[in-house]
């Protein structure tokens, strides 16, 4: 009797991991998947917050992929442990603050832990190997020929880590050597060309799959990375809480002075979201006209707050009025009313925008 082999897959929700799983399923292997929530994932948040995205399809792509593949998916919140990866990546950053190589090592090592844990439990049949959708040469930092063995080695998964889409460009892994997998039926994709993946998707009948540009998380985004660097610089230490990194996804961020930053809502959905933070931040609300809710992060003086109120008024419907009424609310709920002159748009300095 042949043994039913089982694999655990890292499922990001993108096309590559979707295909990698299907390639392995084709060989009669049972696959289950895991998806890691780092706090920086592009999924969900901004769509959920912004009203203008209300009609957009808000599906979670990892769940969607798992459903297409007919496999179980476990989503794990690694946001706390992940901080260390973002703050101190051993292998450094990519083009922005994306620590892709450390990130991959961390995620594969997490999957390896699950594999080990399942083996220890008597009632679980356990997993035999790990699969990822990595493709040699696809990403300049993490997916290069030289980095593939580093990920395998440093994650502790060694030759139990299979990359079905580019396996033929890499030395045979144990599942191939032992005959659990037929190496001839794996692929030899390489480089940034996406056509082979798209052709394979068509062959398997996958449509409407996610094709994230750049990467699977906000850390590959230049503007987002700038905001995160600014946050670290202004606080004098490289630390963050989950709320900090959520707020970096929302609103206009302006720093008129080093001691404080403004987060100005751009539309109703963002204003509602920011309202939920009024106990943690000083806030400015425009009362005489329609306008944004603004949070103030940092340690502003009284004069700074009035200055910020003028800038906030510039983004309100009263931007051309002589004066605009604002309410400045302290964290403890105490409010003060003021009349301010909206800041002339041309005087809002470009370098204030983060």
């Amino acid at each position: 009797m042949t043994i039913q082999r089982k694999a655990i897959a890292l499922l990001s929700g993108g096309l590559d991991s979707l295909l990698a799983v299907r390639v392995i399923q084709e060989q009669g292997i049972l696959v289950e998947a895991v998806n890691f929530y780092t706090g920086f994932c592009v999924e969900g948040h901004t769509h959920a917050i912004r009203k203008k995205h209300k009609d957009k399809n808000k599906r979670n792509n990892a769940l969607w992929s798992a459903e297409q593949l007919g496999i179980k998916l476990h989503i794990e919140d690694i946001s706390e442990e992940y901080k260390d990866i973002v703050i101190n990546p051993k292998h450094g950053y990519g083009a922005n603050l994306n620590p892709c190589l450390d990130c991959k090592i961390f995620m594969v090592s997490k999957a390896q832990l699950m594999l080990n844990r399942a083996r220890e439990l008597v009632d679980q049949s356990g997993f035999d190997f790990i699969i990822t959708g990595e493709v040699v040469g696809q990403r300049p930092k993490s997916q290069r020929k030289e980095t593939m063995p580093i990920i395998a080695r440093e994650s502790g998964s060694d030759d139990l880590l299979v990359r079905p889409l580019c396996a033929k460009n890499l030395p045979p892994t144990r599942p191939e050597r032992e005959g659990w997998l037929d190496r001839d039926k794996l692929y030899g994709f390489s480089g940034r060309n996406r056509k082979p993946q798209m052709a394979l998707a068509e062959q398997f009948g996958f449509e409407d799959y996610a094709q994230p540009a750049g990467g699977c998380c906000f850390l590959t985004d230049e503007n987002y990375s700038k905001k995160l660097s600014d946050l670290w610089q202004s606080r004098g230490e490289r630390k963050y809480e989950l709320d900090d990194i959520m707020l970096l996804k929302v609103g206009r961020h302006l720093r008129p002075e080093p001691n404080y930053k403004m987060i100005v809502g751009r539309e109703e959905g963002e204003n509602n979201f920011l309202t939920g933070y009024r106990k943690e931040f000083i806030s400015i609300k425009i009362t005489s006209h329609g306008g944004p809710l603004t949070l103030i992060d940092g340690a502003p003086t009284e004069a700074d707050l009035l200055f910020a109120a003028r800038i906030a008024a510039r983004y309100s419907q009263g931007h051309s009025a002589d004066t605009v009424s604002v309410e400045i609310r302290a964290k403890n709920g105490v409010c003060t009313e003021h009349n301010v002159i909206p800041f002339p748009p041309q005087d809002v300095k470009a370098e204030w925008h983060i």
Binding site: G44, A48, N60, A66, E67, I75
Partner: protein, 81 residues
């Protein structure tokens, strides 16, 4: 099936953004038995898609999805898988 009576549970996932409500639901269901029910309350409209999708994948049934004052209440019956 055990002969115990099913138990009913609640999960407050308000203010959390997806996929956190799904993760909380998943972790709560791990502690429950087949036949038990769980009512999840969330403020992120994304749960209307994500929680039913997660349930379909993992063999649980969605009994109802109710939208009330910008809150989404999803009732789930735990499956046996």
């Amino acid at each position: 099936m055990s002969d115990r009576d099913p138990t009913h549970h609640h999960l407050d996932a308000k203010r959390l953004l997806c996929p956190m409500p799904v993760i909380k639901t998943q972790n709560k269901i791990k502690t429950l038995e087949p036949g038990d029910t769980l009512e999840v309350i969330s403020t992120d409209p994304g749960v209307k898609q994500d929680i039913p999708a997660w349930c379909r994948i993992n063999g649980h049934s969605v009994i109802s999805v109710v939208e009330e004052d910008n809150e989404y209440i999803i009732k789930i019956e735990v499956g046996s898988s």
